[in-house]
Amino acid sequence: MSLRDILRPKPPLDTVRAQRKGSSAAVARERLQVVVTHERNHRGGGTFCIPTLQQEILAVVRRHVGVHQDQVCVKIATRQNISRLEVSVALPESNTPE
């Protein structure tokens, strides 16, 4: 640390003031967190993560039938602004109902 740093009080004083009063950046962060969380929840299909969904569907299916990772396919098909979630599970031959 240099003497210059000691003699230059502005940034620390500002920081202290900002922390005491609640800075505008802190307000911005709070507001953003609220609005972004809200929008994510209302995005409906906009944010869910396909790989996660695939893993979870795989886990549910596996409780009933032994299937391999590659046999569960999850994808979204979008045509003319309509999105459809497509899930297909290929059953192993031994498990195909007669």
Binding site: S2, I6, A28, R29, L32, Q33, E39, I76
Partner: protein, 271 residues
């Protein structure tokens, strides 16, 4: 395998074109064959920032419509022949871009280039969707400002749901945050969102922080990407981002680790 990288933001005017021009130039200077594509149909600007506006003959839409070949439309950069620019169309309507047409262009580029940088238009409409659809990676350019951060989050939502990788259930698009027009002094004062603030909201890894810098305007006046001004703060920041894209160590500039408490500041000095 070519890396297709979209430079996107949602909000307009945050620095996408500035970023696309500098990153593409930097990758080329490092020896990697790179193409940079302007997806801003109707509002072509990348050519000006790259300084090749007088050499534009054919554009993206001409190639999609089969009126010109990719090689006829690509403009080789004056400074490094590893870099080519594919300009946007100035007159046609935005619907000229189709998933199929854009796919053909990118496939063609991927045959010869290591990197394809897609400079997205602002917004979350057709043009922005076309620019991000085939991306393997996304650089989300964000200013430390509430509206920009919110719009970046919406773009992340689109990357998660409307990209090719999402629709086909492939590995997700790799997302990177590029914070632009950052003013460390204002962050210290508490009147601008800091790096941690933005990252905690968006939750994606940081590729770089580009400071607010007068050199950016001067560079665009001259039609030279700011990365070619190695003495400028913005040029250095873009250079570091290029190293990180290439998986190399890049020095963290002091502004990328802002000192938080004033006590820490006092103890550590101004570094």
């Amino acid at each position: 395998m070519a890396r297709i990288i979209v430079v996107t933001s949602g909000k307009g005017g945050v620095g996408k074109t500035t970023t696309s021009a500098s990153l593409a130039s930097g990758l080329a200077v490092q020896g990697h064959k790179c193409a940079v594509v302007d997806f801003d149909v109707g509002l072509r600007n990348l050519d000006l920032v790259m300084g090749c506006e007088r050499r534009v003959i054919y554009d993206l839409v001409n190639v999609i419509n089969g009126e010109a070949t990719l090689n006829q439309a690509l403009i080789v950069d004056r400074r490094t022949d590893k870099l080519s620019i594919l300009p946007a169309s100035q007159t046609r309507n935005k619907d000229a871009l189709t998933v199929e047409g854009v796919g053909r262009i990118l496939d063609g580029l991927a045959e010869t280039f290591e990197f394809v940088i897609c400079d997205s238009p602002a917004g979350i409409e057709h043009g922005a969707l076309m620019a991000l659809y085939y991306a393997d990676e996304a650089i989300v350019v964000t200013n430390p400002e509430v509206s920009s951060v919110r719009d970046s989050d919406r773009i992340l939502g689109l990357l998660h749901s409307r990209s090719r990788r999402a629709e086909q259930g492939l590995d997700p698009v790799r997302e990177h945050l590029l914070l632009a027009r950052y003013d460390a002094a204002r962050v210290t004062k508490g009147d601008m969102l800091g790096i941690d603030d933005v990252q905690s909201v968006l939750g994606i890894p940081l590729l770089g922080v580009v400071p607010e810098d007068k050199a950016v305007l001067e560079a665009s006046n001259e039609g030279v990407p700011v990365i070619h001004f190695p003495g400028s703060a913005a040029g250095k920041a873009y250079q570091n981002a290029v190293f990180r894209i290439l998986g190399k160590e890049a020095p963290e500039s002091s502004l990328e680790k802002p000192r938080t408490g004033w006590l820490k500041w006092l103890l550590e000095g101004s570094g």
